[in-house]
């Protein structure tokens, strides 16, 4: 069994086919573009994490003693903007989706490979604008850019930040467009919609949101920019403008955006749970319909972010109703994952640990979402740490764990190497413990009344804040570990076989890593998805 030494002549794959920076920067290979995105979003994960670190350090003590109030406003603003727009939204779609979707459907590439590369360059342009914003003194609008604060009263880099996010929005629009057309037009013979892996369905639903929602964010930010620069007072109260109009437009996108930040993770979890239960996914049809339902219903709930902002009570009731509805398909998914596990042949490899973490933590986050969908409770907990805990349970406990699970699951395919399993398990455990220690106290803090976005707090909240910061430091170690051992594995990791997990799916029928064109011949699919009962292969890596 070869370990450290690379064989004398590696078979040709997408990594070694061409060398040199030009072959990467001018590539149209979806797999290389996925890796370009991986570099970009990993960088921003650490930038956003750095802001989080400063926030948690400040909150160790009740007094505002580490940074000034204005600086604190910048910290939480940029933490949110960077994590949402430059990490979470692209993470699974632009990295794992780009890499896997063509292979999973039996195609040689996405429908529009050059548009794919363009989307990465647009992402980099937005990144440059964001870095400029950060280095030029930051921005302190809150990630939500509410008017008239953003249009009238701040002198920080509001326009630059708005432009940065406007630009990266187009990156995700193009990715979504590419995925939709690819999944419709490029499936291999026999790969019917009902045979698609749920990862593909999840990214398809996500792409619907990209295409229909992001443009509204774009126009809302553009109008903020126009108001700041040219005094086009669309939201100016002095002209009779309604600040809530901005919030309607902003949240029309930003609520569905949170489904962008969970659906691909759900797709990943479906793949992992089926593989490591060695069993067909329970309720395929409902799972596929559920992601579509979540994407569609997710567009009908946005004003639940505005319950205390001044919208009419009757409108709030409508949005509250729809907010309850959207929980139903999410719950169906959780039940179906659980049913898949039942009587499965379960193995506790690292990806599965992340999937377990997802299922538990997403459920908690989702359930607290139901709490805040109730108008009465929401009035009490809006703008408190309860909300912060709620969405971090979903975005971090859910999506980030799913992303890491997916990275571990498909790492052998992407790199041709195995990551070290022992370290993988340790990191997963640290992340789980660190996460809960960081964010569970925040539910309590919020319920007790600690407001969000405040840089100082009442002394009775200190103990829980200290616990939260302690958790964050454990979480940080947990996140650093995969960085280190993934890099390590690229040179020293065990060489991966084509299908180390014994998993179903076309991607596992290609080499690890795949060749540039994925398939020498487009396969003809005659089997259903998750055909674990038919697979003859025994997993190589299991315990």
């Amino acid at each position: 069994m070869t370990t450290a030494a690379v064989p004398m002549r590696e078979p040709e794959n997408y990594l070694n086919k061409e060398y040199g920076i030009r072959s990467w920067l001018l590539t149209t290979d979806h797999k290389r573009i996925a890796l370009l995105y991986l570099l970009s979003i990993t960088f921003f994960f650490f930038v956003g994490g750095f802001f989080a670190l400063l926030i948690r350090l400040e909150l160790l003590t009740p007094a505002g003693d580490l940074v000034s109030a204005d600086t604190y406003n910048k910290l939480f603003t940029m933490h949110g903007q960077v994590m949402v727009f430059f990490f979470l939204i692209p993470a699974v779609p632009a990295v794992l989706g780009n890499f896997l979707i063509p292979i999973m459907i039996g195609a040689k590439d996405l429908a529009f490979p050059r548009v794919n590369l363009l989307s990465w360059y647009i992402f980099m342009l937005g990144s440059a604008l964001m870095l400029y914003t950060i280095l030029n003194g930051g921005v302190d609008t809150g990630w939500t850019f509410y008017t008239p604060l953003s249009t009238e009263y701040l002198t920080t880099n509001v326009v630059a930040a708005a432009m940065a996010i406007f630009v990266v929005g187009f990156s995700s629009i193009l990715t979504g467009l590419n995925f939709i057309v690819t999944i419709h037009r490029m499936r291999a013979p026999g790969m019917t919609w009902s045979r698609l892996p749920l990862f593909v369905w999840a990214n398809y639903a996500t792409s619907i949101i990209f295409v229909l929602g992001t443009p509204v964010l774009a126009i809302s930010l553009a109008l903020v920019g126009l108001e700041r620069m040219f005094h086009l007072g669309i939201f100016d109260p002095r002209l009779g403008g309604d600040p809530l109009l901005f919030q309607h437009l902003f949240w029309f996108y930003s609520h569905p955006a949170v489904y962008v930040m969970i659906l691909p993770g759900m797709g990943v979890v479906s793949e992992i749970v089926a593989c490591f239960s060695h069993k067909r996914l329970f309720g395929y049809r409902f799972m596929a319909l559920a992601v579509i339902a979540i994407a569609v219903l997710g567009f009908l709930v946005w004003a639940h972010h505005m319950f205390v902002a001044g919208i009419s009570l009757y409108s709030a009731m409508i949005f509250s109703f729809f907010s309850y509805m959207v929980a139903v398909p999410s719950a169906i998914k959780v039940f179906n994952w659980t049913a898949t596990l039942y009587r499965g042949s379960i193995s506790y490899m690292t990806p599965m640990l992340y999937a377990f973490g997802f299922i538990g933590l997403f459920t908690m986050g989702g359930m607290t979402g139901l709490f805040v969908a109730a108008l009465g409770i929401d009035v009490h907990v809006t703008d408190t740490y309860f909300i912060i805990a709620h969405f971090h349970y979903i975005m971090v406990g859910g999506m980030v764990m799913a992303y890491l699970g997916g990275m571990h699951f498909w790492w052998p395919k992407i790199s041709g190497r195995m990551y070290p399993e022992g370290w993988g398990k340790l990191a997963a455990l640290l992340i789980f413990v660190g996460f809960n220690l960081t964010f569970f106290p925040q539910f309590i803090l919020g319920y007790m009344g600690m407001p969000r976005r405040y840089w100082q707090y009442s002394p009775e909240f200190q103990v829980l804040n200290v616990l939260s910061t302690a958790g964050a430091s454990i979480l940080a170690v947990g996140y650093l570990l995969p960085m280190v051992y993934f890099l390590w594995s690229m040179r020293y990791g065990k060489i991966a076989v084509d299908n180390p997990w014994g998993a179903a799916g076309l991607e596992w029928m290609t080499t690890s890593p795949p060749t540039t064109s994925n398939f020498d011949e487009i396969p003809t699919v005659t089997w259903e998805a998750y055909n674990y009962d038919e697979l003859k292969e025994v997993p190589v890596e299991r315990h």
């Binding site: 229909l212 029309f252 567009f299 946005w302 004003a303 009419s312 009757y314 409108s315 409508i318 949005f319």
Partner: protein, 95 residues
Amino acid sequence: MSEHIATKRTYILVWVSLMCLTAATAGVSYLELGRFNIVLALVIATCKAILVALIFMGVRYISQKMTLVVIVAGLFWFLILVSLSMTDYITRSWR
């Protein structure tokens, strides 16, 4: 390639209709119909848009049904944005 190629006559007829509808909408705007003005204006505009979409943009002859679904979805989503936002504005004055 089985694509449908329209005749010059078809395009010119559509163009004439569009110009007539434009004249109509301009003329009608001089009538004092109160709140009905906008309804009429939007109806005429929609007729023009449908003509452009069906004939100039070839929606009438599109081979893939999926593309029609895409177009309808786009229009429907715009309506979601407007109508759900309006639930707020229209009901703000209700007790």
